[in-house]
């Protein structure tokens, strides 16, 4: 459409928007020579072009950034003994329930009838040369201890509603503890409300907590678990431990792709430590 006194505004806007062809621009300019009184209007239109206020910046960009490689949080770098872990966890579980967290987890303690046997794992004499012990022997040992340790649940009344609504499972945490192959818990995808279990093969450098013997093994059938974002590391651990137990194994590390509140490890080889969770056998999870 030709430019005229009724449609010149659209032309002007198109001009400042950069939508006009060279020929159109010429036409506009010719039109303005006939209507010089409208030139001021073109000026005003060009003033409606906003300029970004570069003083406005997002101050804390660092808070938005994510770690660029997978890493493992080692728990035993700060909590060495299982009893301490148990105490800390109980505390936090309590806090969690008290806060009415939507993902509730009830952990009840139990005791062993023969506690000396249950703690036999911690005798360093059994593990002088960890690397020399074949997996078969390890497995037999586990089964032996698992079979010979009886669990007696303490009758701690949980809130009846929570228990009713929860799915209860009983596990034996002794099983697989000392020699468990690494179960790495990875936080991968928060968007999905469900857990995702993917078997992966990974090389792990394992430190045994009891005697500090280092051993590098290719760990197969590691279970890679994606958890929902539970905000705090403690939350992750509570979930990770529970899930590790559910899988019949032990959580040795949380592979964390988001942020690492502990030390950084850029290497692909991850260092983990065993976690003995004595004192927990019984938990229920609200799905």
């Amino acid at each position: 459409m030709k430019i005229n006194i009724n449609n010149y505004e659209a032309w002007m806007i198109d001009y400042i928007e950069g939508n006009l062809s060279a020929a159109d621009e010429k036409e506009l300019s010719e039109f303005l020579t006939f209507h010089p009184e409208l030139k001021a209007e073109l000026d005003l239109f060009s003033q409606t072009k906003l300029e970004p206020d570069t003083t406005i910046i997002f101050a804390n960009k660092q808070s938005l950034k994510k770690a660029e490689g997978g890493r493992v949080i080692t728990m035993f770098s700060w909590v060495k003994y299982s009893a301490a872990v148990a105490a800390v966890m109980m505390l936090f579980v309590g806090v969690r329930m008290y806060n009415g967290s939507k993902q509730q987890m009830v952990i009840q303690p139990y005791h062993y009838e023969n506690s000396s046997e249950a703690f036999a794992f911690d005798r360093p004499a059994d593990h002088v040369n960890e690397t020399a012990v074949s997996n078969d022997v390890k497995m037999n040992k586990q089964n032996y201890f698992a079979g010979n340790t009886k669990l007696v649940k303490n009758k701690i009344p949980a809130s009846s509603n929570e228990v009713k609504e929860s799915i209860k499972r009983e596990i034996n945490p002794i099983q697989n503890i000392e020699y468990a192959k690494a179960k790495s818990i990875k936080v991968k995808d928060y968007s999905n409300e469900q857990l995702q279990l993917n078997p992966i093969v990974i090389e792990e450098e394992v430190y045994f907590a009891s005697n500090e013997v280092k051993q590098t093994t290719t760990v197969k059938n590691v279970t890679d678990i994606s958890l929902n974002d539970n905000k705090t590391v403690v939350d992750w651990w509570i979930d990770a431990v529970a899930i590790g137990g559910e899988l019949g194994g032990v959580v040795e590390g949380v592979r964390d792709y988001d942020f690492n509140p502990f030390e950084k490890k850029e290497s692909a080889i991850t260092k983990t430590r065993n976690i003995n969770i004595l004192g927990f056998s019984y938990y229920s999870r609200k799905k």
């Binding site: 806007i13 209007e41 239109f45 003033q47 409606t48 906003l50 808070s63 950034k65 968007s191 988001d258």
Partner: protein, 162 residues
């Protein structure tokens, strides 16, 4: 998109998206939350979002967050604030054109304002803006046209005052 590329996105676009949301919403704290949230969503999906698309994904996500936010808050106070700003603009003589435009911007309906902000701040094409705001290209063009006309009328009124 790799985590590295994600972090690059933070460096390059965090300011821009924050500026857009803040100008549109006129609330600093809320804008920060919205931007933070948008980046969280981008991070959750970073494996599925191509690096080249990250910017529009981000702006679009932030925009939709903002819409949700406004709906949730039913920002009555916000509307009143705008009216105040508008009244202030006409009663006082505005010497600074830039300031006047900023005020006039708040007079615009949200959709027009957002179109203009994305267009001028970020240089998006009509098509890209349309994708972000769920509009078609010609709607975007019409909104920008109307917005500029309103802004210009506002400037005219100020010039008359001067």
């Amino acid at each position: 998109m790799t985590p590295k590329e994600y972090n690059e996105t933070v460096d390059v676009w965090a300011d821009g998206v924050y500026r857009f949301i803040r100008k549109s919403l006129r609330s600093d704290d809320d804008a920060q939350d919205i931007v933070q949230n948008a980046f969280e969503i981008l991070w959750k999906n970073h494996e599925n979002v191509q690096f080249e698309k990250a910017k529009s994904y981000l702006f679009s996500t932030a925009y939709h967050n903002m819409i949700d936010h406004i709906r949730k808050r039913k920002r009555m106070d916000y509307v009143e604030e705008i009216d105040e700003a508008a009244k202030g603009g006409t009663s006082e003589v505005q010497v600074d054109v830039k300031e006047a435009i900023e005020k006039a911007l708040q007079l615009l309906p949200d959709v027009q304002k957002n179109c203009v902000l994305l267009r001028d701040y970020e240089g998006y094409s009509y098509e890209e803006i349309g994708e972000m705001l769920n509009l078609n290209e010609s709607q975007v063009k019409v909104y920008i046209f109307r917005a500029r006309k309103t802004l210009k009328e506002y400037l005219v009124s100020i010039h008359h005052l001067i």
